[in-house]
């Protein structure tokens, strides 16, 4: 449909690396006027990175960047704004201390001839724009006082009505309710008809197929395919996303999978009526020894908060938590660790020491057991070496700075530190995020080994595949509440998505 | 007997901190008199900091000198290196402030004004000028400063003799002009009648004079200490009533003379020169202001 016209934005052979990690490898991308361009791909495929290059966030990359047929180079987000490019980032990026009106005009408040901000005009226009978008809120309230979903909508509204001719939406719907998503799509289509170009990133393939004109698929930093949405199907897209190597692992999840009948051991963790303002409501469940409990939900459904509470980093507003039958109220992560709870968080940056060697990363959590007062580096290294070999971490050199390892290997190091003296309860957040197929398989095997040793394991993920491939029992978390349990029954990706 | 040295002498001087005008004037005086007596003066600045001065004196003590002269910033903080120099046979002349209580250290001589006398004499001049009755305020320097303690003692000893003089306030302003200004704004509000004010130095006096002028209260007689040129000017213009000379030039020049006399003339401590030389200065009023200025210009007092 866009053939014949020349694209307003054209990228050629874009390559971008962060340290040793190549996020994009020789990607071509073209965007035409008046089209909605869907972008799909696994986590870590490089979608956000490419969009950030377009929005001027990453000024350093190699490749050719053509805007309106002219070679361009943005040095900053300002240049991108000036060129009419607006982006809604994946992570909420608003100024919570400013008013709603100011956030709508973020960085572009209307001023009079003297350069003074026209508060009343700003409030009025912000109010008008928001109500056109179906948001009814006093423009002079402080943004931070609103719920996250509403904040996200306001950020979207800001970009949509900023007058940008190229609009990039990076997973804008993750915190939105279905009617809000509906309104967003209507608005997108209207803007498209007025000639605006839109890039729309989402993990919801149906949404992509419904709203976009063209779809591009990314995998592992490369562009795999580009087709008109009319010419493709959900199945074809998923296959393109996951790739040949994934067939064995991923393919089955679209079909029903039978969860085993529970043969698990004693209750290790018992959580009752857990609640945290805005994030969790009355969450109750149990985790048993020798069982992997999967908790699935969309981004922002409260999973992260739940994992933090289990590990003593957040304190719940209400509810109780018991480990091996003893009620616990963790005052710190140290207390949780002593009680036998371990957490592998979703972000590598948050769980590893990049400037320190591998063995220190592995030994940090068990240092107390290795040494009373003085360090025993020889023992530390020996323990680390064993883990490195067992997990096939490459290169198998424990003295290497962690930052030198590839992402997948770093992830294994994060797991390794809990293996020498296994905890009672292991909480894994997004354990396979950013991993290639082989590494994912390794992690699955490690987790199964641990289960066999009698640990209780909780896997929290926003990726259905991860949960399906690991869990013996699955809970679905939605807006902070548990809405569905799959145990001893058939489950599939579609069923999970439906429940969430 | 005393006089210009034949061979050039090497002397080391240190004072509290060259940021202070009184010290800066002393440095000029020492260099002036040094030239006359063929003494090459090397300066070790105390930077108004006990630790820095101690390091400087440590460094001084590891070099060779014909004589040294020191004004301590913190009493008792320089004893060790000074003792080392004394042990090495270097005459050490103590200027203005005690290096340590005199029983702890055997300096060649201690040249200092009598702070109590200075405080008393200028207070006396103020009390006489207001006819022995009225209300007065003293603004003190830093309470830990021995000079300030002496000046306060002098002030108190004089006002005690005047039953009709009421002391309204004696808070310290720590030699700080901004604190002086704040205090005096309060005083001018609090006390409708103030007849005279004694300040532990001229800088504070001049800062307060500025505040009085802004509040149209120029009828207060102001007395200070130091008689540095700006204060002499203020006295001759009538902005200040009196100040008393703390003779920086006499002390620093005297240190040169005492050092040369010790090295060249073989003067011994306690015999050729007393252990303690009181170097007082006169009260400066309009009457003798011009002459005082001339003497300072030529580093005589």
């Amino acid at each position: 449909m866009s053939q014949g016209r020349s694209p307003i934005l054209e990228l050629n052979q874009i390559t971008k690396a962060f340290g040793g990690v190549e996020a994009l490898r020789g990607v071509d991308f073209a965007l035409h006027a008046g089209e909605i361009h869907g972008l799909v791909g696994e986590n870590g495929a490089g979608k956000s990175t490419l969009m950030k290059i377009i929005a001027g966030v990453h000024p350093e990359f190699s490749g050719r960047f053509m805007l309106d047929g002219k070679e361009t180079r943005f040095r900053s987000t300002r240049d991108a704004h000036a060129a009419g490019i607006g982006m809604v980032h994946q992570e909420l990026s608003v100024a919570p201390d400013l008013t709603v009106a100011e956030n709508v005009f973020l960085g572009n408040q209307p001023t009079n001839r003297l350069g003074f901000v026209q508060w009343r005009r700003m409030a009025r226009e912000a109010g008008e724009q928001l109500s056109r978008f179906g948001i009814d809120v006093d423009p002079m309230t402080r943004l931070g006082d609103l719920p996250i979903g509403l904040q996200q909508l306001i950020e979207i509204a800001r970009v949509l009505f900023s007058g940008a001719r190229i609009i990039i939406l990076d997973e804008p719907t993750s915190a939105l309710s279905p009617p809000e998503v509906e309104r967003l799509f209507t608005t997108l289509q209207k803007l498209r008809d007025e000639g605006t170009s839109i890039v729309f990133i989402s993990h919801f393939i149906e949404d992509i197929l419904r709203v976009s004109d063209v779809v591009t698929v990314f995998r592992n930093g490369r562009k795999i395919a580009e087709t008109a949405s009319a010419d493709t199907t959900k199945g074809a897209l998923i296959e393109a996303m996951i790739g040949r190597g994934g067939e064995k692992l991923e393919h089955s999840y679209t079909d029903d999978l039978l969860l085993p009948q529970s043969g698990a051991g004693s209750v290790v963790l018992k959580v009752e009526q857990l609640s945290l303002r805005r994030s969790l409501q009355d969450v109750s469940f149990e985790a048993r020894a020798g069982e992997v409990l999967g908790i699935y939900g969309f981004m922002g459904c409260g999973q992260l908060e739940l994992s933090r509470i289990l590990f003593g980093k957040l304190r719940p507003d209400g509810g109780t938590l018991a480990v091996d039958g003893a009620a616990k109220s963790f005052r710190s992560t140290a207390a949780a660790r002593r009680a036998g709870v371990a957490l592998v968080p979703e972000s590598r940056r948050a769980m590893l020491f990049h400037q320190e060697p591998v063995y220190k990363n592995i030994s940090i959590s068990i240092l107390e057991r290795i040494s009373a007062l003085l360090l025993k580096p020889v023992r530390e290294r020996a323990i680390a070496q064993r883990q490195v070999e067992q997990l096939q971490i490459r290169p198998p050199v424990v003295g290497l700075d962690l930052g030198m390892l590839s992402g997948g290997n770093q992830q294994k190091v994060a797991l390794a530190k809990w293996l020498t003296y296994p905890p009672r309860l292991l909480v894994l957040c997004e354990p396979t995020r950013g991993m290639d197929v082989g590494a994912k398989n390794d992690v699955i095997n490690i987790v199964r080994d641990l289960r066999a040793k009698g640990l209780a394991i909780i896997v929290l993920s926003t990726e259905p595949e991860t949960v399906l491939s690991l869990a013996d029992r699955i809970l679905v978390l939605k807006r902070g509440a548990l809405v569905r349990e799959f145990a001893g029954e058939a489950v599939s990706k579609d069923r999970l998505l439906e429940a969430a | 007997e005393m006089g210009r040295s034949e061979k050039p002498l090497k002397a080391a001087f240190s004072n509290a901190g060259l940021q202070a005008t009184w010290c800066a004037q002393g440095k000029q005086a020492a260099e002036f008199w040094g030239k006359l007596f063929n003494v090459e003066v090397t300066w070790f600045d105390g930077q108004l900091d006990a630790v820095k001065q101690r390091a400087a004196i440590d460094n001084m003590a590891s070099q060779k000198w014909d004589f040294v002269a020191i004004q301590a910033f913190g009493i008792g903080t320089l004893t060790q290196p000074v003792q080392k120099m004394i042990d090495a046979g270097i005459p050490v002349i103590d200027m203005d402030t005690l290096i340590a209580p005199l029983d702890q250290i055997n300096v060649h001589s201690f040249l200092a004004p009598d702070n109590e006398f200075m405080g008393a004499s200028v207070t006396q001049a103020l009390c006489n000028a207001i006819g022995g009755k009225g209300k007065v305020i003293m603004t003190q320097g830093a309470l830990g400063h021995t000079g300030a303690q002496g000046r306060a003692k002098g002030f108190n000893s004089v006002v005690k003799q005047f039953p009709n003089i009421e002391v309204l306030d004696t808070q310290p302003a720590d030699w700080d002009v901004s604190k002086t200004a704040r205090l005096w704004e309060t005083y001018l509000t609090k006390y409708p009648q103030i007849d005279a004010a004694f300040f532990h130095n001229d800088d504070m006096a001049l800062a307060a004079a500025n505040i009085m002028k802004a509040h149209n209260r120029t009828n207060i007689l102001i007395g200070g200490v130091d008689a540095m040129p700006p204060a002499i000017q203020a006295v001759s213009e009538g902005r200040m009533f009196a100040t008393v000379r703390n003779p920086s030039c006499r002390i620093h020049g005297g240190a040169i003379v005492a050092g040369v006399a010790a090295v060249v003339g073989g003067e011994k401590s306690g015999q050729g020169i007393p252990k303690n030389v009181v170097t007082d200065g006169p009260v400066v009023t309009k009457a003798n202001a011009a002459g005082m200025q001339w003497m300072e210009d030529h580093f005589l007092i």
């Binding site: 929005a55 966030v57 300002r78 100024a95 003074f116 509403l150 009617p179 809000e180 | 802004a214 700006p230």
Partner: protein, 344 residues
């Protein structure tokens, strides 16, 4: 179920939120104000000379120099940065303006007399330059502001020392003399200057894009960057603004106190930081403003002035000030926390 959720949600925000919740959300602003009222009442009872018109005038003049310096510092702290060189820059600027003015013959400084306006411009240029060095160190080289301005504190003191060489200068250009120590209709010019600068700072922060950018950068630096703001330029600007405000404060201070000398303004460092922070501007940036700074100025001004009116042991006063400062900081942090809870 999900849809009913979101249907009710927007309505929620227009519902009045209850007095308790409102008060809690305003804690940041109320706490310092209560401190001020409490202190004022205390001193008014403790000393008859405290609560007089005249003394109000005193307090006003006494907080003026701090107020002028604090205007710039408010910008810096709103950006979640700090400036430790304010007092030092105030000092060197005051000294510079005297250095470029003809002094009486008894002042023994090798100075370079110039016409008044030139002296003022040169002094302003000097403080702007030092601010620029701070700005470049912070934004281009990436030295944290805390340590960059610590070095600048030394450098500015060094320049001061070179200019006055231990002497004291008394004369400044007539304009500065008038503004620093003159008065009009019973009101000191310096109070008027401080009021104008505080008002100006408030207007800039509230009504100009630049001012709003300052809040944005302080509130969420990443969001500000994504919104296309030139964050480095804004951070650099606030460092220069801070230096220039300090410079103006220093020049007028020299006129107010009647002399320019080394280390004259040292107390203003702690006083200005304390005024901004005690007033309730968040050290983490993004919250507060000139209104808070004004309250903070008066808390400290009343405290200092009041302690002069009552007869407390001079040595105890230092401790009392320290403890009140700590108490105010604790209140500041807790008020922030309460506010965050109220927001939920």
């Amino acid at each position: 179920m999900a849809s009913s959720d979101s249907a009710t949600a927007p309505a929620d925000h227009k519902r009045p939120r209850g007095l308790a919740s409102f008060l809690r959300s305003q804690m940041r602003n109320i706490a310092p104000f209560l401190t001020l009222i409490f202190l004022s009442a205390f001193f008014a009872i403790a000393s008859p000379s405290f609560a007089t018109i005249d003394n109000v005038g005193n307090i006003l003049t006494q907080v003026s120099v701090t107020g002028i310096i604090a205007v710039g510092l408010t910008f810096v702290i709103l950006c979640a940065e700090i400036d430790l060189s304010i007092a030092s820059i105030a000092n060197v600027t005051g000294i510079a303006v005297a250095y470029f003015t003809l002094q009486e013959s008894y002042v023994n400084i090798a100075n370079v007399p110039m016409p008044g306006f030139a002296a003022i411009l040169l002094a302003l240029a000097l403080c702007a330059l030092l601010g620029l060095v701070n700005a470049l160190g912070l934004t281009i080289i990436g030295i944290p502001s805390f340590i960059m301005t610590l070095a600048m504190m030394q450098i500015a003191a060094g320049v001061s020392a070179l200019l006055v060489r231990g002497q004291i200068a008394y004369k400044v250009p007539p304009l500065i003399t008038t503004l620093g120590s003159g008065s009009i209709g019973g009101i000191s010019w310096i109070v008027i200057v401080a009021a104008v600068m505080l008002l100006g700072g408030h207007l800039v922060l509230t009504y100009t894009r630049f001012g709003r950018y300052v809040y944005m950068v302080g509130g969420n630096r990443e969001a500000a960057e994504f919104a296309g703001l030139n964050v480095k330029l804004i951070l650099g600007s606030v460092m220069v603004i801070s230096a220039v405000c300090s410079g103006i404060g220093g020049m007028l201070g020299v006129a107010h106190f009647g002399s320019a000398q080394q280390n004259e303004f040292d107390t203003y460092l702690l006083d200005s930081i304390a005024a901004v922070v005690v007033g309730g501007t968040s050290l983490f940036g993004g919250r507060g403003g000139i209104g808070n700074t004004i309250v903070g100025l008066f808390v400290l001004g009343v405290l200092n002035n009041g302690l002069d009116h009552v007869n407390i042991d001079s040595f105890l006063k230092i401790l009392i000030r320290g403890l009140i400062l700590l108490a105010a900081l604790i209140i500041n942090v807790y008020a922030q926390r309460l506010r965050e809870q109220a927001a939920d």
